[in-house]
Subunit: 262 residues, 2 copies
């Protein structure tokens, strides 16, 4: 049903398969209203939809069966007594998924003693996957663009507090897209389909929104930084937020960050 | 390779198949830089990429073989002496397609004596199609939403001349997306996955960007209007532009248009 590249950590592969199966079962067994229903509050402090809960539960059960720890959006931190922790966004782009916009992803990272060593991003609607290992050159190349003027930039939607910063980026970009799936948008940077993806200073990103990007994009020649210079790091405190800047080159990332800060 | 629903006009079906075949051949035979190369000026006054030209040529040959007239983005008006005219966007979302963002569509309309009677929109990356006939209820239903506040709205990117109007919509919308494929975005309105899609007053839309929507979306309970009240009509003058508003209900369309006008 989904591509799992050879060499993927068995626990990460199993969790991705479980997420994809639960995702498709949820969509075939429930209508949009039922999938979108907010049935609780996640560990990250945002509401949990039924879709999130169904997929997160499958992920947690699979992580436990593989005796690895888990940090997940809804369930939070699960210590299964391992040196290996999976940091997972079971459904990135939940709003897309529940509405039937075909842009939603599973994204997961293998962390050993707090350091991310491997990532897997799977576009749930098609099964297409992007896998990478930290410190190894992967099969994809970013566009290599260094300048913001004329760049193709994906953004989160503007929020009341960051409209000015959002427009500063938009005015200089040659193309602007908002796909509402941070993990797919980061994969598009990795494969050179867009030059950058950024949260233009709204501090919306949680670690699971950018953890896979922070492995995948450097393996393709790009970088992931925070617009305000904070370290992007795996932390069990899910209240932490970043304004992730995912870019084809360090130069482009720094220019976008400087433009956001203003 | 692509879904062609039963009952599709044979010339429209043939042209859609030709477009999809040419699209896939172009992408397997050329790299991104070659596909994106601007090799001329289209009949609509915008540059023609190699991808556009390859697909448009296949569309024109097929229309001629079926002895129907054609109005197409790049080639313009071709009179093959028929009462039937196909109004076609061979590749909607060219920028996505040439970059490898998997959001591009074929969209075509059958017009008889200037009146659109049938439409077909095909998502080229997956083969998924939306077909409708004017005046007949189709299989999809819009969301039925009547109010802008909290609505999910897809937009074209903001341009220097319409930033204020763009932000007036964005501030009231519950979700904002920019997918850069007007024809797919209109299909998402038809199937209830987003509440509306609009050009927020930049007058970017040409007739082929909204012609298929103007058949498909009413067949699902929605409407297509122009933000400034101009009639959306098939016209061989490809210099005409609109600010299309595609919405789940007439009430939502009127509220979005009034908000754009300000």
């Amino acid at each position: 049903m989904i591509e799992i590249p050879e060499g993927t950590h068995p626990a990460l592969a199993a969790v991705a398969r479980a997420a994809a199966t639960a995702f498709h079962d949820a969509r075939s067994g429930h209508d949009r209203a039922a999938l979108a229903e907010k049935i609780g509050m996640g560990a990250d402090g945002t509401p949990t939809t039924r879709l999130d809960q169904l997929v997160d539960t499958a992920v947690a059960e699979t992580a436990a069966a593989h005796r690895v720890n888990l940090i997940s959006e809804e369930i939070g931190v699960v210590d299964n007594g391992s040196a290996v922790t999976l940091v997972v966004d079971p459904v990135d782009g939940t709003a897309n998924a529940v509405a039937g916009v075909p842009l939603a992803a599973f994204a997961g990272v293998v962390a050993i003693d707090g350091t991310a060593v491997e990532s897997l991003t799977t576009w749930l609607d098609t099964g297409r996957s992007w896998h990478a290992k930290a410190g190894e050159r992967g099969p994809w190349r970013t566009s290599g663009r260094r300048e913001l003027d004329g760049a193709a930039v994906n953004l989160l939607r503007p929020h009341p507090g960051n409209e000015a910063a959002w427009l500063r980026i938009s005015r200089r970009a040659g193309r602007v897209r908002i796909l509402s799936s941070s993990c797919i948008e980061a994969a598009l940077v990795a494969q050179g389909s867009t030059d950058a993806f950024a949260d233009a200073g709204s501090d919306t990103h949680r670690i699971m929104d950018i953890a896979a990007a922070a492995v995948l994009v450097p393996a393709a020649g790009g970088v992931v930084i925070d617009a305000f210079g904070r370290t992007v790091e795996i932390d069990p405190d899910l209240s932490r937020r970043w304004s992730g800047v995912v870019a084809a080159t360090p130069e482009l990332a720094e220019e976008i960050a400087a433009t956001i800060v203003g």
